[in-house]
Symmetry: C2
Subunit: 327 residues, 2 copies
Amino acid sequence: MGLSTAFTRLFGVEHPIAPAPMGGSAGGALAAAVSRGGGLGLLGGAFGDRKWLARELAVLAAEGPGKPWGVGFLSWAIDVGAVEWALERGPTAVMLSFGDPRPFAERVRDAGSTLIIQVTDLEEARRAVDLGADVIVAQGTEAGGHGARRGRSTLPFVPAVVDLVAPVPVLAAGGIADGRGVAAALALGAAGALLGTRFQATTEALVDPATAKALIEARGEDTERNRVLDIARGSSWPEAYTARTLGHPFLDRWRDREHELAADPHEARRAYEDAVSRGAIPPLPLWAGEAADLIDDLPSAADLVGTLAMEAEHALARAGGHRPPRL
Amino acid sequence: MGLSTAFTRLFGVEHPIAPAPMGGSAGGALAAAVSRGGGLGLLGGAFGDRKWLARELAVLAAEGPGKPWGVGFLSWAIDVGAVEWALERGPTAVMLSFGDPRPFAERVRDAGSTLIIQVTDLEEARRAVDLGADVIVAQGTEAGGHGARRGRSTLPFVPAVVDLVAPVPVLAAGGIADGRGVAAALALGAAGALLGTRFQATTEALVDPATAKALIEARGEDTERNRVLDIARGSSWPEAYTARTLGHPFLDRWRDREHELAADPHEARRAYEDAVSRGAIPPLPLWAGEAADLIDDLPSAADLVGTLAMEAEHALARAGGHRPPRL
């Protein structure tokens, strides 16, 4: 039967589901698998590393030819050249997250690509509409990885965004890792859901087996938002963004002392580098969302998209007192 | 048609909706109106003030006779006597929130009253099952008023609780203020929703007109969790709980300096009392949840219950691609 929404109709995809374009891990294999499964595949363009993108675009072209696809960038981190370079590859959509999308929005639209803007508050949502966003992703603070320091929670945030930006379709992001969450997103008025952590734990995500295992074992209460790990590893993420991560020795040491750490990070950075080089800690934080409780397997992303959609349909039917479709 | 759930069947009510038993404001008129509207009315027993309860029970008996009703208490604040006193009045349900429910749970069950336990993390949920809870309320950090300092967000928390406590029915609380939120709660697997701030802004809540007006005007981003106002007003709420409130002059002054304030609260308390006596600030903080964006009217709670249920049914039908019921 399928869940038809403004999002599925806009992209001509079967299911209202997209993976977060996670930098480094949402590569061509993941995007292709999501496309094969009936969702919209998105590449994690992040900082605009063209070498990485070129490699992953080749994978995508080999594994998922002829399907709609998109690429996500961090607005605060890229220059116009990165977007233009990507647009020359003909993406169906370009997604801009975190920071000021103004320098890039018009170019995306002029190139005929669908403009997706991720927002973390109502003011950003308003500006995204003004910039002509075709799709707005409303990200709640439950999300794994980076987000607004003072974030909104997905459940109350999504309907507020939906009301503000109508008729622009909204994707809900943050705290969604199973079909019930996708169903809830649709019930809130969203046209679909964008899932990050759940797609990290798939066979196609570019993460090492230890990361996938940690995500499967993690509980939501093991996650917390912090900037400690960005400071300790010398990341250039702006102060306005924290990241939801799993526990970490540096977090235990510096939790609630971020100002102190930021004021004099040098020794902590050396200690972090030392620990990485000794193999005592992984080079990157383990980004994970609060929906980690709901992740307990390592499926193919292609199968996952179909499972999520079927579960969502079932959840909506059950909740509404309709006869559920057969699972 | 109606949304039939384990909650509606357990209590024999029409709609899977209950108001949070808000101390001081969820009185007999509100409980009676909710009952008339087809939900489960709950009195805000809070600290167990018998004089207040006796008065509000009389109102409830006069305005809503013969319907199921319940009373909520703060587990950390009451003694067994308060629960026994309430049980003698024959409540359909007793709801225990925040703190250790063990001293009271067995008495509630022995009296034949339905035991509702509100939880803020999975460990509390596990313990609530062990205590024989008949209904578990999973409260997310979006909620207005008090909640766990390190709270979970409703969207990912509810399905995790549902999975953990099945087949015990779960109510979702926190961040829900319209029918879309109720629908999302059901899609997540909850058997209903418990709404606080939304019911504060009804004609039957015991709040002054200025509070109702402030809730209607408030936006979710105007709310923040803090303990500053509890410390400043000399409240006995334990350190483990913060409260989501609207902005406040004392909050601007002490935000992020809670430890400093708690270490030497005397001067701030005098200043708070002075400001209250001068009429510069209201005696109580303005508790409000993050779903405040969705509240823009002051209906009767009786009408509100029906509207929420109808909107929820509509949202589920729309999301699931079914023909929506007529609004």
